[in-house]
């Protein structure tokens, strides 16, 4: 992307001219932007310059707006070692905001600007990779891999039958019949390798298909020529080679198919009307009945009934959790005992469970650092193998008949396996992501898992993160008991947790008129002809002469009558967790709360507290620290979570903060497991790579005949050993504890 370009995007969420200004500024400050015009009426922004679209989108999102984007999923038929080529093609396409390619499933998922690029144009860019559009994400992927597996099994069946025939005829001396039997093996069963080799050639690269096609093709062509001249034929080697490669690849496809997906169970929901429907047909607001022993089909709130739910699928917590009126329930958990009537808040693919499954299936590998090195090595791998094979043939043809020398060369081609190198990293990530998900840690971005072990600082939000988020309000100073009752009456009309706590301080019934709520600040209303104002000290101070200490102040007719302290409890296990973190990292609390309670929490835990921060100031603090991890749960943590080197959000937090988090945990203390998982991941990647390289390093010299005649690896066995390399990497990844 070197030349100047113009791109049009649609910005979502602009209300007025101030918004236009903010968006314009946010786009303008992106590297490479030369000009921008934002239209409030249409929501379109036209940007000129030589810029990266994802940086523009990030900057707009950081300023609090969003950009219309389209999720596109494309099935790509490519070998794992081609992953970076495919990503390069896609990310250099105008209009692509972000892209991931999972070589293990062959699915490319991307976000694109629908105004700049269409799915068809993307398919056009990927011509030569047999790309096709996937409809619904999960079902599409499963059927894709199933189709791949079925076609492999067919090819393998054809190859096995005709290879047996070819072997029988060749060893019985009927070379012509051996030739005839070899044709379906080479050109039906083995066609995928020849096609792949042709595709690689057109893209000016070489991959595993090239090696298989070259080795089996050379053996076959050589045999055909000799058949005409009456020389030795190797139809056995050519056909066995294709068959053995297919054996390994089919096994590998099968294993990857079995382990690549966590399936969302298909649940049925019984509506309170008596109807039974598929769980994804339930609408928000519908009442659903769950009986003992059944799975909860939707996310929602218990409206009636009580029982015990097993939520281990989601939280990893083995003990059943008590559920009663008002408790939240989550799809995928099961009711151990009791009876619940659930008010649906989310269903189908919007449930926490579905999102979790999608995230885990998606956790992909495109930006993992180690993988880049591996991709570079892989791109030299295949050409080097071809060179080694040619050299092997040249050296041997001085010592043995040309036919035998050729077999050595072919064996080298057949023994080298770039696939295992390509699979080493994604498989390790997939396994770690899956293992962590079983413990309730949802890794939404594979690279965050890799980065977690490099963090230097841990910054925690206070309310709801360090503390349990269950507020307690304690009166501090009460000048006028009647005033307190009026304040409680007004607070009764608000649903804010602090307001609820204050309203519970008095049982007096009073009529409230002209009620107004200022979200996050306070409430106002008229009681018995008096104007009552209750809220945060800063908010009240602008409208009433406050001369008392406290977090919350109540004012009647501009005269303060009572003040309250807001307290919260530190979560269980938090002290031990922080002590553990302090050994390796700088730890601090960043909170919007400016009350004395914030300092108290810091004193109790023995860490620094930065208090009274706005959402932007939290993000600034995170930015100022090197490689900081931020853990938070609220809407005011979103910016900080996004800004962090690794952003962690709590599953109990707001939807917005969960959207922002690289990782979602059920409790902040789970971060220890995340960091541990990150170290494990790095070890696994290295192990897989050492295994894959080591396997090649032993096999190639053997195939080249270094130990000949002591130990000799004919091409077909070299091929079998090669194809088992990726099988072994796959198995090793999954079986290792």
């Amino acid at each position: 992307m070197s030349q100047e370009k113009g791109e049009k995007i649609r910005v979502v969420g602009m209300h007025c001219a101030t918004c236009v200004n903010t968006v314009t500024k946010s786009i303008d400050k992106v590297n490479g932007v030369n000009g921008v015009s934002v239209n409030l009426a249409t929501g379109y922004a036209e940007i000129m310059g030589n810029f990266k679209l994802n940086e523009v989108v990030d900057s707009i999102r950081r300023s609090g707006y969003d950009v219309e984007s389209q999720d596109i999923r494309i099935a790509v038929r490519a070998n794992p070692e081609n992953a970076s080529t495919i990503l390069d093609i896609i990310s250099s396409t105008d209009g692509v905001i972000s892209s991931h390619f999972n070589p293990a499933t062959g699915v490319l998922s991307l976000k694109a600007n629908p105004l700049a690029v269409s799915p068809e144009q993307l398919l056009e860019r990927l011509k030569g990779y047999n790309a096709s559009l996937l409809e619904s994400s999960e079902a599409g992927e499963v059927s894709l891999m199933k189709g791949e597996l079925t076609s492999m099994i067919y090819s393998l069946a054809v190859a096995s039958i005709f290879t047996s025939l070819a072997l029988y005829f060749q060893y019985s001396g009927y070379a012509l019949y051996a030739f005839i039997s070899s044709v379906p093996v080479m050109f039906y069963a083995g066609r995928r390798y020849f096609k792949g080799a042709y595709r690689a050639l057109r893209n000016r690269t070489a991959d595993m298909d090239t090696l298989v096609a070259l080795s089996s093709g050379t053996a076959w062509v050589y045999s055909v020529v000799n058949l005409l001249n009456g020389g030795t034929v190797f139809f056995d080697a050519a056909t066995l080679l294709v068959t053995f490669v297919l054996v390994g690849k089919t096994l590998d496809s099968y294993l990857r198919f079995r382990i690549s997906f966590i399936h969302v169970p298909r649940l049925q929901a019984r509506l309170s009307t008596g109807e039974t429907v598929d769980a994804d047909q339930v609408n928000v607001g519908d009442s659903v009945i769950v009986k003992s022993g059944e799975s909860v089909p939707v996310d929602g709130i218990v409206d009636d009934g009580e029982g015990e739910a097993d939520e281990s699928v989601l939280t990893g917590e083995p003990l059943p959790v008590e559920k009663g009126k008002g408790s939240p329930v989550t799809a995928g958990s099961s009711l151990v005992s009791g009876y619940l009537k659930v008010y649906t808040t989310r269903s189908g693919s919007r449930t926490y469970m579905s999102q979790l499954v999608q995230a885990v299936n998606d956790a992909s590998t495109s930006t993992v650092g180690l993988k880049r090195t591996v991709d570079r090595i892989t791109s030299y791998f295949t050409p080097s193998i071809i060179a080694i094979a040619a050299l092997t043939f040249l050296v041997w043809h001085f010592y043995v008949p040309a036919g035998i020398a050729l077999l050595f060369g072919i064996a080298v081609l057949a023994s080298a396996c770039p696939c295992a190198l390509g699979l080493a990293t994604p498989l390790a990530i997939m396994v770690q992501v899956r293992r962590l998900s079983k413990k309730g840690i949802i890794v939404r971005r594979g690279d965050a898992l890799e980065k977690a072990r490099n963090i230097r600082t841990v910054i925690l939000d206070k309310t709801g993160t360090v503390t349990a988020g269950q507020l307690k309000v304690v009166p501090r100073e009460v000048i006028d008991q009647g005033g307190l009752e009026m304040a409680a009456a007004v607070e009764r009309l608000s649903s804010h947790p602090v307001a609820k706590a204050i309203s519970s301080l008095s049982g007096a019934e009073m009529d409230v008129s002209d009620f107004t709520e200022f979200p996050g600040e306070g409430v106002m209303g008229m009681v018995e002809g008096h104007s009552v104002l209750v809220g945060k000290k800063g908010f009240i101070a602008k409208n009433c002469d406050v001369d008392m200490e406290g977090d919350i102040i109540a004012c009647i007719d501009s005269r303060p009558v009572a003040s309250f302290m807001v307290k919260d409890e530190i979560r269980d296990g938090m002290k031990e967790f922080i002590d553990e973190l302090k050994r390796s990292f700088e730890v601090m609390i960043a909170t919007g709360d400016s009350s004395a309670f914030a300092d108290e929490v810091g004193r109790d835990l023995g860490i620094r507290v930065v208090k009274g921060l706005t959402a932007e100031e939290k993000a600034e603090l995170v930015k100022s620290r090197e490689r900081a991890m931020f853990i938070g749960d609220g809407v005011n943590d979103v910016l900080a979570i996004k800004q962090a080197y690794v952003g962690v959000s709590l599953s109990s937090g707001s939807d917005m903060s969960k959207q922002a988090g690289d990782v979602i945990v059920t409790s902040p203390t789970a971060v220890e497991m995340l960091i541990d998982g990150s170290y494990k991941l790095e070890r696994r990647i290295r192990e897989n790579l050492v295994w894959a390289f080591g396997y090649n390093a032993i096999l190639i010299p053997l195939a080249a005949g270094i130990l000949y005649p002591l130990l000799y690896l004919p091409p077909q066995y070299a091929a079998l050993a090669m194809s088992l390399n990726s099988v072994s990497v796959t198995l090793w990844s999954f079986l290792r504890p």
């Binding site: 007025c16 001219a17 200004n21 107004t516 106002m524 908010f539 602008k542 409208n543 501009s558």
Partner: protein
């Protein structure tokens, strides 16, 4: 009921979540941005009225 945003001059509904209490009077805004602008300098906006659309 429609009210005027004192920062950008737009008409806003009273049901908006963006509002501010200043000297006992409630002001309504179209967005968090306008509310923040107002709270930085309420006197300024009340004196000179909404600023015109920026270029």
């Amino acid at each position: 009921m429609k009210k005027m945003d004192p920062v950008c001059g737009m008409e806003v509904d009273e049901s908006t979540r963006y509002k501010s209490l200043y000297r006992g009077k409630v002001y309504f805004f179209c967005s968090a941005n306008c509310k923040a602008e107002f709270e930085m300098d309420p006197e300024g906006y009340l004196r000179s009225g909404p600023r015109s659309m920026p270029e």
